[in-house]
Symmetry: C2
DNA sequence: CTCACAGCTGCAAGCGCTTCCAAAGTACAC
DNA sequence: GTGTACTTTGGAAGCGCTTGCAGCTGTGAG
């Protein structure tokens, strides 16, 4: 394996100059730069990552901690992060902590803290106070996406606000019998957010003077299949049926639609459904939703981090609200005429 | 930040002994080990990743190259890989090359080759001859999953065989009007496998003496939404309708089911559908499928790699066929009675 | 009691770069 | 021609560990 020394010899330059030429830092005459690059190319030489990092103290590597890359939101974010990082010449070290607190703990201790990363992006993690302290203690830029991370910069959407907007959309259409499917991920403690969306729903309902019926408040695990099961209960029960469902995620909205179809309910004539996310499948189901550009959030997170890294600015924690977009499709409309089906 | 030196002083040992104690290599008396560990813990010291790597020549990091973490198969594999690597104390550097050949090229050149990884796992990548050579040239263990990678070890399922099995399942039920939805990902050159599954389908059909109708051979991009669009064409056309569809992936099978429902077709009475994958959503749709344990494949890949790394065995390229499992649910049954709906 | 051997330990030489520093070269104005 | 202010260059000191080597200690056998 050729080393920088070999390149230097071949180019007739000193090691120092080759280093500067190849890394682009410092002043090097165009001629020297050219010669260094040529020599490096001829030898098939690339700088050793570890040696560079050790000597310079920089890693060009950011750690991304996610609950599970297998889920829509997280994999979308990771795609955005990945593309942006790669463009910037950074590596992405992925920590998929789907296996619970233990895994999370070992990741924090054995990996992140081992100075391997210049920065970390934490997606929707629910960390303990101690864990947050650990993270902050390594004094590296951190940004949290979609989850509270006291002390660090965060990117989030206005969960409460969009939940209100979604609910208001239904209310304005004339619905009063509105169910809400909230996210519940007790089986996996890493999730976040149910609260705020539910809060927005309740706020909008209260503002409109419409009662929230407890039996129409259901929950699911954010998956299509989980929502499907919950929706079957909601819609198939002996009690009165809602005329609209606001699901806290598109996947849950889709699960709801599937369940509704099972009962012969037509969307949107018999039941309106609205979600949140901007999931690719939304189009197939004509799903009205509020699009949060997950990839965009990932990309933004990287830009924030890199800005922080370049300036070495400890710039304090900023809290960025990411914009969302209301997408009206065909899954929502006015409620059934007054002769609505009520068993 | 404390260094190993500080630990050594505090423990009253030499740097060398502390290093051996903490890394677990070499002979250290239990007493020294204990003291080193205590001192390290007290100081909150962790070995520097880069320094260790530089000095030892090992990285404890494997690169994973995938076309897109946003897709079911890939994210499943990554989860399996991630969990297994984390257990083994390795880092996972993710290269999500969804943006085409350019991105792939830069990943190979600027990242993987920079000696940052001890090994690489390539998932379903369609690499050029030159790219494969590059990969092999770095002399690190490589394993390919679900894609041919001449010269490297691979893990794959018997695509042709399971496609035959799926087709035979339909044939045995009495179907003769069988459509096949094959995978086509021209928009993204990184994918793999359409060929072999389609081959298995044709083989089974030929063996049964059943004609393959060209108009019943459709393709989609492996997504639910793509398959939905294709299936609408297939099922809504003016021509005769098949009584069964074998889709090359579960997501495409689900897209097909959704399209069928749009036309009022009942599954499986009017149309049988079978897929391949073992997708979580399969249960919701009662989808008959052939389960390839994607997580398991990822885990196996890691085990193969680590085995190779430990032994420094150049062990030669092995080709492992990963077992699959036929899962019969409710989306397949006998074809409609002879008075089948034919327009 | 001595010797061979094995287990421990510490010294010091790197691993392959980056970057400080000082020296040398270059350009321009006076 | 001289002085000033840059730009460009090379020497060399690390970055924070790992590990070969040699010395030291303790053990059991002879």
């Amino acid at each position: 394996m050729p080393g920088i020394k070999d390149v230097a010899e071949r180019a007739g330059l000193s090691i120092a100059t080759v280093s500067r030429a190849l890394s682009g830092k410092g002043n090097v005459s165009p001629r020297s730069r050219e010669r260094a690059q040529t020599a490096a190319a001829e030898l098939g030489f690339v700088l050793s990552y570890h040696a560079s990092s050790l000597a310079s103290g920089r890693n060009h590597n950011v750690g991304v901690v996610v609950p599970s890359v297998h889920r829509w939101f997280f994999s979308s974010v990771v795609e955005g992060v990945s593309a942006t990082l790669l463009d910037a010449g950074y590596d992405l070290t992925l920590y998929n902590v789907s296996e619970g607190p233990d895994r999370r703990h070992s990741v924090l201790n054995d990996f992140l803290l081992r100075k391997r990363v210049d920065a970390v992006i934490a997606v929707s993690l629910e960390l303990s106070e101690a864990e947050i302290q650990q993270l902050l203690a390594i004094h590296r830029p951190i940004v949290g996406i979609g989850g509270p991370l006291p002390g660090a910069s965060t990117i989030r959407i206005n969960d409460s606000g969009i939940a209100e907007a979604a609910t208001n959309h239904l209310l304005r259409l004339g619905h009063t019998r509105i169910a809400h499917m909230t996210g519940d991920a007790s089986y996996q403690q890493d999730f976040r957010l149910p609260g705020t969306r539910q809060g927005g729903f309740e706020k909008a309902m209260a503002a409109a003077g419409v009662a929230v019926r407890p039996e129409w408040q259901v929950s699911a695990d954010f998956t299509i299949q989980g929502a499907y099961a919950s929706a079957r209960q909601l819609l198939g029960g002996a009690s009165e049926r809602p005329t609209a469902v606001f699901a806290a995620s598109d996947e849950m909205a889709i699960g709801t639609i599937l369940a509704a179809r099972d009962f012969g309910l037509r969307i949107p004539y018999d039941l309106s459904v609205i979600g949140i996310d901007g999931h690719e499948l939304g189009e197939v189901f004509g799903l009205t939703t509020i699009d949060q550009d997950a990839r965009g959030q990932g990309a933004l997170a990287v830009r924030l981090l890199l800005a922080g890294l370049e300036k070495a600015a400890d710039g304090g924690a900023t809290d960025t609200e990411f914009p969302t977009k209301f997408v009206v499709r065909s899954s929502t409309s006015v409620p059934p005429a007054d002769t609505a089906p009520v068993r």
